[in-house]
């Protein structure tokens, strides 16, 4: 594990940049645990201060330090996005691989469910679910709901990869070597599917963050929990865009973009590392 990290850092510039970016954002986000003010506290500081030596990223109209706000917001948004991403990857993997490998009835049932979810429009369903659950709609629950809506298309991709692996000789060989279905899927097919998983993960993450922002902008969010969407929500409530408080809106977005770019670079370089083709080249022959 450690040696993989070392290899990647040493020999892959993309990984290095991605690692630095993500690491910086992560540390920055983690710093909110040590913030001088609680992240929900308001009017502790003079409002509307532009970026300065004292307040690096300025202050909001609610008298909060944008720096510390983003720190907390990115942390929460990141946990949300990553939770959605991981949960939906797990579902997509399970459904896609099982469906593609087993085929037949199981495939038909799973793909019908899958198509149903593809057809369900995300935003209205989420808004409605939020409506029904109201303040029971904690962020893990929201993440779960989003994850349940966000796996379907990727499951189809994974299924098509598994489908092509199903008839490869090594799969049939594995079966005759007595391997069980989970063994075949995890040991034999997973390495080939992982690149797809990594690739779709990034789009999924962006989708999740976008969802959070959308819900927040429309007023469906827990205002007590700072998130990127929440910051935009409060900035809107204070008409920051027309009032010239640009730092309230711009910096959180910059942070999201950097986080995304960092994770993206990590994803593509790790992808290259785990891609069976490059793995084989490394193993030599």
């Amino acid at each position: 594990m450690f040696s993989i990290l070392r290899d990647l850092l040493r020999f892959n510039v993309e990984f290095l940049i991605g690692f630095l970016l993500t690491g910086t954002i992560f540390l920055f986000a983690a710093a909110h645990f040590f913030a001088p003010y609680p992240d929900t506290a308001i009017y502790l500081l003079p409002p509307d201060m532009p970026p300065s030596a004292e307040f690096w990223l300025g202050t909001t109209s609610r008298g909060q330090d944008v720096f510390w706000q983003i720190s907390g917001a990115i942390w929460n948004t990141m946990t949300f996005g990553l939770t959605v991403m991981i949960l939906s990857r797990i579902v997509a993997l399970a459904v896609g691989m099982v469906s593609g490998y087993l085929g037949g009835k199981a495939d038909e049932v799973l793909m019908t469910i899958n198509d149903t979810l593809i057809a369900l429009p995300n935003i209205p369903i989420l808004l409605l679910v939020y409506f029904v659950m109201r303040d029971q709609m904690t962020w893990p629950l929201l993440a779960l709901t989003a994850a349940l809506l966000g796996w379907n298309y990727d499951a189809r991709l994974i299924r098509s990869v598994t489908l092509s692996l199903r008839n490869r000789e090594f799969t049939r060989h594995a079966v005759f070597a007595g391997m069980s279905v989970p063994q075949v899927l995890i040991r034999q097919h997973l390495p080939y599917v992982m690149p797809v998983v990594f690739f779709t993960a990034m789009n999924n993450l962006i989708w999740a963050i976008g969802l959070e922002v959308t819900l927040s902008v429309l007023g469906f969010s827990d205002v007590n929990r700072p998130t990127v969407g929440g910051m935009i929500y409060w900035a809107n409530q204070h008409q920051a865009a027309v009032s010239g408080i640009w730092w309230w809106l711009v910096f959180p977005i910059v942070a999201v973009v950097l986080l995304f770019l960092g994770l993206f670079l990590l994803a593509i370089s790790i992808n290259e590392y785990i891609d069976p083709r490059s793995r084989l080249s490394r193993m030599g022959g």
């Binding site: 000789e169 079966v175 070597a177 007595g178 390495p191 069976p276 084989l280 022959g285």
Partner: protein, 288 residues
């Protein structure tokens, strides 16, 4: 005399064709033969590409269900084996060897895993030592040993070695029948011989019956006891290998037999030139 494997008027058709023009393709038509349980043999199926050899193999292995007829293995209808337990019991008796040794092993899995998995699942072995012993014993049969294989990946070994490991793995559950679908078509001439020779030892020393599928008539002649020649899903000739291949009676079999190039430039050249002559003649005829 008891039958090890009995194919009784077995047929298999596939729906094929494009979007609008769909029809049934009869990949195997009415195939019957019986392998004797008491007398191990190498039973060869030859035939051109697309003649239904692989389909037959897949049906025997239970990977494909015949659309007509039955396949019985030790009296049991293969298509009726559904439960996992029965499948495992069946697989312990019937094992496949695949065409491409590099494809048959996942390049990202160590080779010994296949051996261990087979030993654990089919022999019910639990301890590491037992499993390794079983794997080693099987490898000894093919002239390898576990030390050479342990922890290695497929790309670290030659095709011949891989194919031998594949055979060794198939031997672990002491199968009665091995189905080898074109086990040598992807390997070069010298490796080819090592595998074919191995089959012969298996038959003679371990009493395993082997269904050897190939379109290489020379090796078929070299090792088989009995042979059937398939053409477009039909068996057009069957019988003792030396007799059938040495002196085919059907037109198609003869054409096949004559197309085999001998390892001799003069003779080989003559065959090609004859073919060329026929082509030219056909062309001129069409031109006039």
């Amino acid at each position: 005399m008891s039958a090890l494997l009995q194919l009784d008027h077995v047929g298999r058709s596939y729906p094929v064709g494009g979007f609008f023009a769909r029809r049934q393709l009869q990949a195997v038509k009415d195939l019957s033969f019986t392998l004797n349980a008491d007398r191990p043999e190498i039973f060869t199926i030859v035939g051109e590409s697309g003649s239904g050899k692989t389909t037959t193999a897949r049906m025997i292995l239970g990977n494909e269900v015949p659309t007509s007829g039955v396949i019985r293995f030790l009296g049991q209808d293969v298509a009726a084996i559904r439960s996992r337990k029965d499948r495992l019991a069946f697989m312990a008796k019937v094992q496949p060897i695949f065409q491409n040794p590099f494809e048959a092993f996942n390049p990202l899995t160590t080779l010994d895993f296949y051996l261990y998995s087979t030993a654990r699942r089919f022999l019910g072995l639990r301890t590491r030592a037992e499993i390794e012993a079983a794997a080693d014993k099987a490898l000894q049969h093919v002239g390898l040993s576990l030390v050479e294989v342990r922890g290695r990946y497929s790309h670290e070994l030659s095709g011949g070695q891989l194919q031998r490991i594949a055979v060794a793995r198939a031997l672990i559950p002491s199968p009665k029948l091995i189905v080898a679908d074109e086990p040598v078509s992807m390997v070069d001439a010298s490796l080819r011989m090592s595998i074919v020779n191995l089959f012969r030892t298996l038959r003679d020393d371990l009493g395993v019956t082997i269904i050897y599928i190939t379109h290489d008539l020379s090796t078929a002649y070299y090792i088989s006891d009995r042979v059937i020649i398939m053409h477009k899903g039909d068996v057009i000739e069957a019988g003792d290998a030396r007799a059938v291949l040495g002196n085919p009676s059907e037109d198609y079999s003869r054409a096949l037999r004559n197309a085999v190039l001998p390892p001799d430039p003069v003779a080989a050249r003559r065959i090609i030139e004859a073919r060329l002559e026929r082509r030219r003649a056909a062309l001129t005829e069409a031109g006039t």
